[in-house]
């Protein structure tokens, strides 16, 4: 019954509430109704921003993906059906770029999370100079990406890059290696740089989360004989669960659609070895002016992500209901 009531109300959602607002004070309302009004009022500003700036582009992407829209080819316009999709899926490199996208996303997010949680735990210890260390950890995150990308590219160059020369001097490698120019290391090298850049945000968020872990509880558990790992698993991790999930979810999306570092450092090369889907999309849109192809690839990506996230969401819901 409850669900039914909710459903009916939903159809008259946001505009209705705004109009409803004035008489609300006079009318006696139930607790649920009042809560719903607050809820919708609270999300309204965020909703307006999204409608203003994201609804139109999103619609345009989906619309364009079913149309011929090549800016340099005015002769071919109009409804394209699925031919844009067929075109991008028949591209020789699509398999490679798909795999690269998955690899890049998984390795980046995993690396960032591990680096983030280890550094956050270390920074949460009462050690001397931790204010200093906290200041340092944030550095990569505040260096503009374009500058960081160029710096790293320079440092990783074989002939005059400081990293290669140091690695050789330290005897770790025999001779300078072209990290960004070899097919087997290009993507990994950029991933390494991407982790460098993104993990500090994990650190800060997780550190903020760790503040809510009561030290008394941890110490009490220690007195009860729980080891370090047990304390971490049983007491600390549950507190970080929502923050962690948010971080990981958002970063999976962002990393998958991110393109700055890759474009700046290798432009997807050599021979597409570091090309991910957003690079392909960028190339279609800005180099070949084929908005149809760019949009259809984006639509595919969008669809894929929606499916993955809904699957995850529903399985999580199911789990929650079972417990």
């Amino acid at each position: 019954m409850n669900a039914k009531v909710e459903k009916r109300d939903h159809t008259a959602s946001i505009p209705d509430i705004a109009a409803d607002n004035r008489p609300a004070s006079r009318r006696t309302t139930t607790r649920v109704q009042r809560a719903r009004r607050y809820a919708l009022l609270f999300v309204l500003p965020a909703f307006l921003f999204l409608v203003l700036l994201n609804a139109f582009p999103l619609g345009q992407v989906v619309w364009d993906s079913f149309h011929y829209r090549n800016m340099v080819n005015a002769a071919q316009q109009g409804w394209a059906g699925l031919s844009n999709f067929v075109g991008v899926l028949h591209s020789e490199i699509i398999g490679k770029t798909l795999w690269n996208t998955v690899l890049w996303t998984v390795l980046s997010v995993a690396g960032e999370y591990i680096a983030g949680i280890v550094s956050a735990m270390a920074l949460n210890q009462p050690v001397r100079g931790r204010a200093f260390f906290r200041g340092i950890i944030i550095v990569p995150w505040v260096v503009p990406i374009v500058v960081a990308g160029m710096m790293w590219t320079w440092m990783l160059t074989p002939e005059y890059g400081v990293i290669n020369i140091w690695l050789v001097k330290l005897g770790i490698i025999d001779k300078p290696y072209y990290w960004l120019g070899e097919m087997n290391t290009a993507l990994l090298a950029i991933t390494f740089v991407n982790i460098w850049r993104s993990f500090p945000f994990y650190t800060i968020s997780l550190l903020a989360g760790l503040q809510s872990v009561s030290r008394e509880v941890v110490e009490a558990a220690a007195i009860d004989g729980a080891g370090v790992m047990t304390r971490f698993r049983k007491i600390v991790m549950p507190q970080l669960k929502t923050v962690s999930l948010t971080l990981i979810f958002m970063h999976i999306i962002w990393t998958a659609i991110n393109f700055d570092f890759i474009w700046i450092m290798t432009e997807g090369g050599p021979f597409h070895a570091s090309e991910t889907l957003p690079i392909t999309i960028y190339r279609y849109a800005m180099k070949e002016f084929d908005m149809g192809a760019a949009s259809s690839l984006s639509t595919l990506m969008l669809g894929f992500m929606i499916v993955v996230f809904s699957l995850f969401y529903f399985s999580a819901m199911k789990k929650r209901q079972e417990t």
Partner: protein
């Protein structure tokens, strides 16, 4: 304490080792940038790159400060980043609260889903549509265009961050406040927000830094030098064939330092927000 002295010592050493390792990882490129900004031009690109500077010079800094509009870019970035942070935070506090407390309502749920969806559009495909929108609003070439765009980009994550932090604030505190006759707004401002200070800081830092460093829309929306922000301004030193590394580095150092200092100052609050009974460091 239960841990033996030796065990404690081990963990302490491990902590230091981890922190030093991370510091090297984090600082290395920044130090390289700093060193480059102080090197004379003929030492910058060499076959034998070192951190040692034979004759340090401030001429790249002078070039940036006196021969480019760095001051203007800097002021613009401050305005944009601060406005974005304030607006995004104000919007996300409420949206995050709604998502945390009223997640059962469909309207709220669908806004949450829309936020997630909005993050999945590649930036390249936003360029032309957003330019058109901004042109329609008459905002091209103004800081307003950047503030609106960045705010929209930041709202989803800020909201989710706030939600996840509000989730860890127990309902009971609020309920007792409401019993005492507090309205919803005053409950949020007087009860919920004060216990969420660390997360507010983490979230606002996120919004600030991203707005500070954004590049693509900064250069697409702004043609006029007087409204240009820092990152596109720094990239002006990159020529077609030759990159003025000294000036790029100097400009980057100048743009990064204030944020680091600000963070060093802010983290006091990050620590202050710790729950009762914690050992203050």
């Amino acid at each position: 304490m239960v841990a033996s002295r030796g065990e404690k010592r081990f963990w302490m050493l491990l902590t230091y080792a981890v922190l030093i390792l991370f510091s090297v990882y984090c600082l290395f490129p920044f130090l390289w940038m700093l060193v480059t900004s102080l090197k004379p031009t003929e030492q910058i690109r060499s076959v034998n790159p070192t951190f040692w500077i034979d004759h340090p010079t401030f001429k790249h800094f002078a070039n940036v400060l006196y021969h480019s509009k760095f001051g203007t870019y800097f002021a613009n970035s401050v305005k944009v980043a601060l406005s974005t942070t304030v607006i995004a935070l104000a919007v996300s506090i409420f949206a995050g609260y709604a998502l945390s407390r009223y997640g059962q309502f469909r309207g709220v749920k669908s806004v949450g889903a829309a936020m997630l969806l909005s993050q999945m559009i590649p930036g390249v495909l936003l360029m032309i549509p957003l330019y058109l929108i901004m042109k329609q609003l008459g905002l091209i070439n103004t800081l307003g265009s950047l503030i609106i765009a960045y705010t929209t980009f930041m709202i989803p994550l800020c909201t989710f961050m706030m939600k996840s932090f509000f989730d860890s604030v127990p309902m009971e505190i609020e309920e007792s406040a409401e019993m005492d006759g507090c309205g919803k707004l005053s409950t949020i401002f007087r009860i919920v927000l004060p216990v969420s200070v660390p997360s507010l800081i983490a979230t606002s830092l996120f919004a600030f830094v991203n707005a500070w460093n954004e590049f693509m829309f900064g250069y697409v929306f702004i043609n006029a030098d007087d409204s240009r922000t820092l990152t596109p301004g720094i990239m002006l030193f990159k020529g077609l064939y030759l990159t003025d590394w000294g000036s790029i580095s100097a400009a980057s150092v100048l743009s990064v330092l204030p944020v680091i200092i600000m963070f060093a100052y802010m983290q006091r609050f990050l620590v202050e927000g710790m729950t009762a009974g914690a050992v203050k460091g």
